[in-house]
């Protein structure tokens, strides 16, 4: 019931953000030079930032970009983890041990340091879209080890299942067995891994963005919008500055209810 309510609210937020982007006459990069740091008006529902950009439009775009990017990164991570876990489960013990050691190497390092390291190696001339894609790709590339370990355990347990032995006896090849039988059986494990990754990636992007290492301007992101809180002049003029962080917490709380259920099901 709780997850249904959370899903409903999240869907309403996504639809609302989509509607705002569709109905508003400006895009997220449009600068209204006559309304710099403006309070909430009929023209700009939640005011503007220090460049005169509409906050409602930017928050809506940040919500959609954040959710889409984190979901795509989570899907990639789950796929990498599934591939890694399945290869390890169906390999010789020595190879499986090496692969799991590799996942340990990634797992034992603090994420943010790895992200900062990878992010700092990008060219300085990267466009906002490139930085957004790269940030989420880096998140996807670094988030797989915990999932891979869980999938390896699940696949290794299923490898000796009776229906697998039956499949082998019937002459099915390992690849066919994995595709036709193992992956459908692993779906209850893969879906929670995907769900757990989404809020984790949103938080990681927000932290990176707050350090100036996330999605590049003028593209809006949670992290970049949090940087507005450093502007004391803006804070004194309007309370709408808190809108992005408030909405981010609401989104993360809604996602948290899915995560809790997913963790219970794993």
């Amino acid at each position: 019931m709780r997850t249904r309510i959370a899903a409903g609210i999240l869907l309403a937020l996504i639809l609302g953000a989509g509607l705002v982007l569709w109905l508003m006459p400006y895009d997220y990069a449009f600068q209204d030079r006559d309304a710099i740091m403006a309070p909430a008006t009929a023209q700009h529902w939640s005011g503007t930032d220090e460049l005169g950009r509409d906050r409602t439009v930017r928050v809506s775009a940040a919500l959609l970009i954040g959710l889409a990017g984190a979901s795509a990164a989570a899907a990639i991570t789950t796929m990498i983890a599934a591939g890694f876990g399945l290869v390890a489960a169906f390999s010789r013990p020595a190879i499986a041990a090496i692969l799991m050691f590799l996942s340990d190497v990634f797992l034992s390092l603090p994420w943010l340091f790895l992200l900062m390291m990878a992010r700092s190696l990008l060219p300085l001339t990267a466009s906002p879209m490139q930085t957004a894609v790269t940030t989420f790709l880096v998140l996807a590339a670094l988030g797989w080890p915990a999932c891979a370990r869980a999938i390896y355990r699940g696949a290794a347990a299923l490898r000796s299942a009776e229906w697998m032995i039956q499949g082998y006896a019937c002459g099915l090849k390992t690849r066919q067995l994995i595709r036709l039988h193992l992956v459908p059986h692993l779906r209850p494990l893969l879906l929670p891994q995907f769900i757990i990754c989404v809020p984790a990636f949103i938080v990681a992007e927000a932290n990176l963005g707050a350090l100036g290492l996330g999605v590049g301007e003028p593209m809006p992101s949670w992290g970049a919008m949090m940087l507005e809180l450093d502007n004391s002049a803006l804070l004194a003029r309007s309370h709408w500055v808190y809108l992005p962080i408030a909405l981010l917490i609401v989104v993360l709380l809604l996602l948290e209810s899915f995560t809790t259920e997913a963790e219970t099901n794993v």
Binding site: F101, L102, D104, V105, S108, L109, P110, W111, L112, F113, L114, M116, M117, A118, R119, S120, L121, L122, P123, L124, P199, V203, A206, N207, A210, L211, G212, L213, W222, G223, M226, L229, D230, L235, I245, L248, I249, L252, L253, E256
Partner: protein
Amino acid sequence: MSLPMRIVTRVGRTLLLMLFVAAGTILLVRFAPGYFADSREMDAKYAEAARSEIQAENSQQQSLSLIAIREVKGWIKGDFGESRQYHVPVAELIGARIRVSALLLAEGILYGWLIAICAALPVSSLRKGGLLFGLPFTILLAIPAAAMATACILAETGGPVLVLSLLISARDFKFLRSLLEGEWRSPHLLQGRAQGLSPLALVRMHILPSVVPQLRALATLSIVTALGALVPIEVIFTVPGVGQLAWSAVMNRDLPVLVAVSLLMASVVGFAGLLSTRTLTLEEA
């Protein structure tokens, strides 16, 4: 496996982990744009011939194996190179900041654990209302470290230790609560309750001894969580620690500092994991 053998295996695993991190870092650095850029190439006072000589010298040093040998030789001698932005030996830069970060981490983890344990023990024993009492921690989980730090600055309350403690307590509370809920429901605890043992006696004699292995694993996880949160917290509160140094290195592409910090982080996490496993094996023996 005998105890010395176990310890040797664990130490070997940790060293291998550090070797992998070092190899990965060198690989990343080698292909980083601008790593081989030399400011002398843009200096007008150098003649064209001198500039091409510098270019030729730099291109000779671009081989991955040469970089690896040079870096590893330096690390063995304790030489991590020179910072590109501060023009100071990296070891000197990090050495001055380690104490600040270590103190922050120690205090943050200690208070975080205290908050999490003090909250998880009573909340996990409740039959109803656990969700409501756990709500503050759920909300804390949904706040990114950077946002929490900014909120503290805006409210002019708290500091880096408070933010780190809250962050760790939120993560650990979640694990501790589910761990302790299982313990409270175990048959021997129900028997103890039925015999009239006080909750304090149950915790001291039954619950804590049985969750010690999981607590050790959680301690290692707390260190990893705290290290991850170190950068935004130190940057936002302008704490002169390793996290702030790493951030400034990223912003200024100071790769020698970044390599050294990555190695430091890998060794801290590796040895933290090793310590928890080692105490476990010693007790088992």
